[in-house]
Symmetry: C2
Subunit: 332 residues, 2 copies
């Protein structure tokens, strides 16, 4: 019956009395509208898809948490497909989500503009998270790795550490690249005479350990070390301890991410925190904003600020948290 539909949804064009009768009957019969039939005719699923790589731990759970909370607040369901480690897997997942979702949230290092074009209908709204893609066709939401890294290096220098070395992440990783740039920029600005000192790493604890040993083996030991992520900082810390060095007295150390472990190592690790829940929330809200506009929204590129968290490992006891807020830039 048509009035039933009207009563259950908008309610416009139905007497209060009939609406009342309908709702009573509906709850008496435990009537639940059939989602598929509704989807078929409305061409909306009220579902958004999240396509994620093979992530472990805190980052994954907090991101999903942010997305999920925001989605529920907006009345959307969340279809998750994670643990993709090849581009083909991700493509297959993308295609199989076709038609089940109204929009897609994608976090994947391997996804680029061409990939999206060939695997998705261009009508499907997409928000890219932490992606190097500079597309005018898709909205992109990044973490301000550059500002975070640069703020931490600035802090280390201003805390009196004359030389700061950097343990880099994987070269192909976008976040790692940005952090590298942040390190170089801060060095150039605040310690133009100090040498740029970079050793390789790949974001694993093991690689951080090797990098720590490599740093100690060189003839001039840096006064402070900034690792491109916390896991490497933890590995590096192990190397320093093995060598009998005291952190931060002999050498200062800082990481990036603020994973939970950072608080529990000895000494507690200074690091750069990303508000992951918020990252997820904002990504979802941008996507929903696109859905609700009929005309395609101009592509946006947003950046979520991060804050430095000073603990003991960097040798500055003051609790200084320089936090940036959301800086937003949009291009046509």
């Amino acid at each position: 019956m048509a009035s039933v539909s009207r009563a259950m949804n908008g309610g416009s064009g139905v007497t209060a009395a009939t609406s009342e009768r309908i709702h009573a009957a509906a709850s008496r019969l435990q009537y639940v509208p059939h989602a598929a039939a509704r989807m078929l005719i409305t061409r909306r699923s009220n579902t958004i898809g999240a396509l994620l790589p093979d992530l472990h731990g805190e980052f994954f759970s907090e991101l999903i948490r942010g997305i999920d909370l925001a989605a529920r607040a907006r009345g959307f369901h969340l279809l998750v497909s994670s643990s993709h480690d090849s581009a083909e897997e991700a493509a297959a997942a993308m295609r199989s989500m076709q038609g089940r979702v109204d929009g897609l949230l994608i976090l994947s290092a391997r996804v680029d503009a061409a990939f999206l074009r060939s695997n998705l209908p261009k009508s499907l709204p997409v928000v890219l998270i932490n992606s190097a893609v500079k597309s005018t066709a898709h909205t992109v939401l990044n973490v301000d790795n550059f500002a975070g890294a640069s703020a931490m290096v600035q802090h280390l220098l201003q805390a009196g550490h004359a030389s700061v070395a950097f343990i880099a992440g994987p070269q192909s990783n976008f976040d790692a690249q940005q952090r590298d740039k942040g390190y170089r920029a801060a060095m150039a600005k605040y310690a133009p005479n100090a040498p740029i000192h970079i050793v390789a790493g790949d974001f694993t604890e093991e690689s951080g350990y090797r990098a720590g040993r490599e740093l100690l083996a060189q003839q001039t030991r840096p006064r402070a070390v900034f690792a491109a992520n916390d896991m490497m900082a933890v590995g590096c810390l192990t190397a320093f301890k093995e060598a009998g060095l005291h952190v931060p007295q002999d050498i200062a150390l800082a990481g990036f991410d603020d994973i939970p472990v950072a608080r529990y190592v000895t000494p507690p690790l200074s690091t750069v925190r990303v508000r992951i829940v918020e990252l997820g929330r904002i990504a979802l809200e941008q996507l929903v904003a696109q859905l609700e506009k009929t005309e395609p929204l101009p592509a946006h590129a947003d950046t979520l600020g991060c804050e430095i968290v000073i603990r003991e490992s960097c040798g500055a006891s003051l609790i200084a948290t320089s936090s940036q807020n959301i800086l937003s830039t949009s291009h046509p």
Copy 2:
């Protein structure tokens, strides 16, 4: 056209030639079958729902990972709704998933048999994870908290620690109850003359810290402490360090869960590990098994074993891992 459907799906009753033509045309036109239309007529969504409480960190991400991997392997999609902290929220989420999913995976302390009966059609297959529900109507999959806790206490006693105290979890929590029982059982069996010594906790780090102080304030200090989870063990460790005690020389310590932090505290924490990915995988597979049988499968109650992980905090350097496998019991 009917042959299209036949060609795309089973393929029975279609010439190889026509099937070929159809597939060619389909890929040329980038044809993707409309999920909603298929759902409507088939009455299957190929989607399973996961209803989870407000979990943080590793446990959540690994569980989802296990579920997701298994779901993709079986061709199912995964609809997630997490971060529920009240029963009403969970109920609302359950109802809104109605008709979108073929089955439901539920992990929630607050869900009991009556709750399920009143919020879900009894035709919807459900697998309960870590639930106290003893229902003949639903399959339940639990972690063997009892055996894990009991094995750890046994280990502590046999390592020569004459007295073992226990920091309990929240009384309402099913896992906490089982771990408590495991402690008592092992004490009764392996140290019948030692006193049962329990202090309260609520699974938070803070409560572990308080429990640690409380233990030290009492006149007889236990030789070892077993905390019902790792976070409390970490808090307790802080209390011991503050009091100038050395772990494990002065007092031994063990936890439960094997969260990542356990490896990084000093000394590294002995604990009981749960294979969470596997928990998720098995839960999903049980659910799928129910879906694929036409007649309702008899309700199962399965238990996933866990293994004790010996590090330094318990004062036994031997690398003994006593692992139970899956013990399965089914009732009519």
